[in-house]
Symmetry: C2
Subunit: 140 residues, 2 copies
Amino acid sequence: MSPHPLRTLIETCDAAISRRDVDALMAFYAEDAALVVKPDMVVRGIPAIRRAFTAISDYFDGQLEVTQGAMEVIEGADNALVIMETRLRYPGGEGWIDETRRATYVFRKEPGGQWRCTVDNSYGITLLGAQQPGDRPAID
Amino acid sequence: MSPHPLRTLIETCDAAISRRDVDALMAFYAEDAALVVKPDMVVRGIPAIRRAFTAISDYFDGQLEVTQGAMEVIEGADNALVIMETRLRYPGGEGWIDETRRATYVFRKEPGGQWRCTVDNSYGITLLGAQQPGDRPAID
């Protein structure tokens, strides 16, 4: 089975981030898209997203590498919710640091069939706070 | 500050589920929306979503109650990603069972300003599997 077109698109985006090609990356965002830069900071619109990615790259001295782990895509009504493991690798004080986030992304299918990102939230559900409630039911 | 319109909308939807008013509930879904009924089962389109909610209600003997906990809404390009605690309460063999899910929903703003759900995934990131990777970076 061939991979979902959004897996290929996200691989292309992550490769663009890793080689600091912000122009290539911006082609995949909707004009008024939102990017969660950090849990208390959301920016909107391609100019602001472009500045944020440039700042993120500078923060990691241009050495941030982004790759993909497990991914689920749920399409509905020309939207897609992508839930995936986003793997970050960057230099730390004592060697390379590997970080895995469980990200949530929203894409919209344009009339021509092209997918564009409308909401980029690499923090996933951690926006609700660090505490993870159990998924198992509790009987009272 | 007044609550986000989507908080009010989701409260209305959850109240409709709790009183088994599937007609009222369907008004808030896009025509081709997707509903994750369980992790390995996604249905699409209002007729299928209607049948799924009727079956879910029957499964809980019409006694499922749904309410809302913490909620974050990220709007971008006429989409909204909602990340929230969805609280379920239903009768179990030994009393009432309380379950909290960290859900992920996608909404689209229609030209008239009405929000409609395009992807309803009450399972959130648990679709990726039960194992929760640490959010803390590991140094190698």
